[in-house]
């Protein structure tokens, strides 16, 4: 599904990613953990194609295809989805209108006609039920005045609507209350299949109790310094990152 080879990326001439290697296969869940500022969100943005980040070296392959030259929207059309750590507000554009535009633009890119209105409504109803989202919420301006938790739930609603191949969830758990965390995690699990994959970026074991990872990676100073099974997350929760930093001699 996704293969990253020796990825180096910088922003404003500052090197942030310093040689990332990662392979995610269909049906897998990978967790990425690591201290603040280690480059987790940067990695997510680079995979999604944010223009400000310059890829200096290495490559990103999606289903064997190098996507380095593709614009962000083209990557989205190929099935990459990013649940943002900080979702942005778009005043005056309702959640429904935004989703309608996103879905129809993606269909257009694939040579399909707009989704018929009744189908769209059905899809919206189904997915908002899945994430226990109030209908009134969907006519509000996108993320404007949403609480932290509402924003995150809305991100996963969008993921459910778009049914991506590869979903990257950047600290989706932060801001969610205990019930919301369960609802959102269940939503993600329901969307999981043997054909898609999820990368979960988080600081806490809590989310991984629900969305159980096949692998846990520790990102430190722009590099993946340790990978292991799901138990690694428990170990990190207990011991913090210092022992890893010592191990890599940083």
């Amino acid at each position: 599904m996704l293969k990253i080879n020796n990825l180096h990326a910088s922003v404003e001439d500052k090197a942030i990613l310093k040689g990332i290697n990662l392979e995610v296969k269909p049906g897998e869940v990978h967790a990425i953990m690591g201290p603040n500022g280690s480059g987790k969100s940067t990695l997510a943005s680079v995979i999604a194609g944010k223009e400000e980040y310059e890829v200096e070296e290495g490559e990103i392959l999606l289903e064997g295809e190098n996507i380095d030259e593709l614009a962000a929207e083209e990557r989205a059309h190929k099935g990459i989805f990013l649940s943002f750590q900080y979702p942005v507000e778009i005043p005056g554009v309702s959640v429904t209108n935004f989703m309608k535009t996103a879905i129809n633009e993606t269909r257009k890119a694939k040579g399909l006609d707009d989704m018929p209105a009744n189908e769209m409504l059905k899809l919206i109803r189904e997915k908002s039920d899945l994430l226990e989202i109030d209908k009134k919420f969907l006519s509000r301006s996108l993320n404007e005045g949403f609480s932290g938790g509402e924003k995150k739930r809305n991100e996963i609603f969008q993921m459910a609507m778009l049914e991506p191949k590869l979903a990257i969830l950047d600290e989706t758990d932060s801001g969610l209350d205990i019930d919301a965390l369960r609802i959102v995690a269940n939503g993600v699990n329901k969307l999981k299949s043997k054909d898609n994959a999820v990368i979960v970026i988080t600081h806490y074991q809590r989310l991984l109790d629900y969305i159980v990872p096949d692998f846990v990676h520790v990102l430190h100073n722009g590099k993946i310094v340790k990978s292991g099974p799901k138990e690694l997350a428990h170990e990190l929760e207990e011991k913090g990152y210092d022992w890893i930093k010592e191990e890599v001699g940083a």
């Binding site: 943005s45 929207e73 209108n97």
Partner: protein
């Protein structure tokens, strides 16, 4: 991955031609250039006007000669040479037709290019049209339906002849001849325009619409519109314009007067897309418009405008809230790109008790353009309990454009409650990336964000106009990524 830079943007803007820029070659009868009493008389004679009208024009001309062009607006342009303009031009083909078949095929082709062909327009349910090409109206539809309700909707030239009592009673009562330089000029030389009268208690069953265009090289256009809503009546009036591409600047100085008598309501919507000049700021229409409405007791006037065109815009649709409990509203979207300059806003004059006004202004600036909001809320000493709410939002794209707000408040009565809110925002890279990530490309993302920003105003437009307006916003801002 290639990065979209300011340079790319500049290149893209440069190559973006005016979408509706073309010129239709309709043979015209055009007056020699220049302006003097004889020209004014000749215009009046050409139009077979009664003597009072000729006199009124001459009086206006005298007033205009004594006036100087105003300079207080936040715009810079080369002053037009008023002696180098021809003040009258009429399509050569005969002025009146019963059906579209008789209309100059070139004109119909023009409408096709605009995507607002008469055929298409006719299909739009409930829209009556009075088409003005240059100066003389050449087609009027739906007149019969309107006549059954006693509604008069015709060119102002016709009205002067057929309903002189109404025209004489109301013309110049809201915008006096001496009101301002351009209004005086218009009063002297106005070519044509629309006249509309809704009788007492009648609800006009359709949106009345007029398409104005400028279509003759070197010909200024001086529209005169007069809308009278008699007691307890209602009318929604739509005005939309787009002009052929021109190298030299074209002057446009229209006057629109609205009169809403007791308990009447007038909605006046405009979509304006005149040639804004090319990417270097050459050419484009100068649009100096005086629009004002008078509200009697319990009356309501709403101005809604979407301004995307013109090189220079000077325009302040206003409401005089004379009657008690009268209501004035102004909803505006003004887009400027490249070297466009707009100084637009409104005046709300509260004279009656319990009068209420609402101002929602959305300015969108891109390129090297300057976009100013200028508004005056005035409450007279005798107006008890006046209310005003103003909101002026500016959206900037890129770093070379400007947005300015000049809100003036003159409240002479202590019971007045006036609220003003203003915001300035930029379309952020983060917003664009968020949209991109969801599969929405940058052009579409900008259109989406701009539409969201303008929503409160777009919502005020009649349906078919709202669609056209959204299209215009998209066209005007193509490639303007900051």
């Amino acid at each position: 991955m290639s990065k979209y830079t300011e340079d790319d943007l500049r290149e893209e803007l440069k190559t973006k031609e005016y979408e509706y820029g073309f010129y239709t070659d309709i043979q015209s009868e055009t007056f020699p250039v220049g302006l003097n009493e004889d020209i004014v008389k000749a215009i009046s004679k050409k139009k077979e006007e009664p003597e009072w009208m000729t006199e009124w024009r001459l009086e206006s001309f005298k007033i205009w000669k004594e006036m100087v062009e105003p300079e207080w607006a936040n715009v810079n342009y080369k002053k037009p040479d008023f002696q180098a303009i021809s003040y009258y031009s009429a399509p050569n083909s005969k002025p009146k037709y019963d059906s579209l078949d008789e209309v100059d095929p070139e004109l119909l082709a023009t409408f096709d290019k605009l995507g607002i062909s008469l055929d298409e327009q006719k299909k739009l349910t409930g829209v009556a049209m009075d088409v003005v090409v240059d100066s003389v109206s050449v087609a009027t539809t739906f007149k019969k339906t309107l006549a059954e309700k006693g509604i008069i909707f015709m060119s102002i030239s016709e009205a002067i002849k057929e309903h002189p009592e109404l025209v004489k009673k109301y013309i110049g009562t809201v915008v006096p001849q001496k009101d301002n330089f351009y209004a005086a000029l218009n009063s002297a030389v106005f070519s044509d325009g629309s006249f509309c009268y809704i009788p007492k208690g009648v609800r006009c069953p359709m949106e009345l619409s007029t398409y104005f265009r400028i279509n003759q090289a070197g010909t200024g256009q001086f529209e005169r519109t007069l809308v009278i809503a008699d007691e307890g009546s209602y009318v929604s009036y739509l005005e939309g314009c787009t002009a052929p591409m021109r190298d030299e600047n074209q002057l446009h100085a229209a006057v629109v007067e609205l009169i809403a008598l007791d308990d009447a309501e007038i909605k006046y919507s405009t979509v304006q897309n005149w040639y804004p000049g090319n990417a270097e700021g050459k050419g484009g229409v100068y649009n100096f418009v005086t629009k004002r409405g008078l509200c009697e007791k319990n009356a309501k006037i709403s101005w809604t405008q979407v301004e995307t065109g013109s090189a220079v815009t000077w325009k302040y649709p206003s409401c005089v809230l004379k009657g008690d409990n009268s209501v004035g509203e102004f909803y505006s979207i003004a887009v400027t790109n490249n070297y466009q300059q707009a100084d637009t806003g409104t005046k709300m004059i509260h004279l009656g008790n319990n009068t209420k006004s609402t101002i929602i202004s959305k300015g969108i600036s891109a390129g090297k353009s300057q976009n100013s909001y200028r508004g005056l809320v005035q409450v007279s000493s005798r107006a008890e309990n006046a209310r005003n709410f103003s909101q002026c939002d500016s959206l900037l794209m890129g770093n070379e454009c400007g947005a300015h707000t000049f809100p003036y408040i003159e409240a002479k009565n202590k019971t007045a409650k006036i609220e003003h809110e203003a915001t300035t925002s930029k379309i952020g890279e983060d917003q664009i990336f968020y949209c991109n990530q969801r599969g929405i490309d940058t052009e579409k993302a900008i259109a989406l964000i701009v539409n969201g920003f303008s929503k409160e105003v777009l919502n005020k437009l009649p349906m078919e106009f709202a669609v056209e307006a959204q299209k215009l916003l998209e066209i005007s801002l193509e490639g303007s990524v900051g």
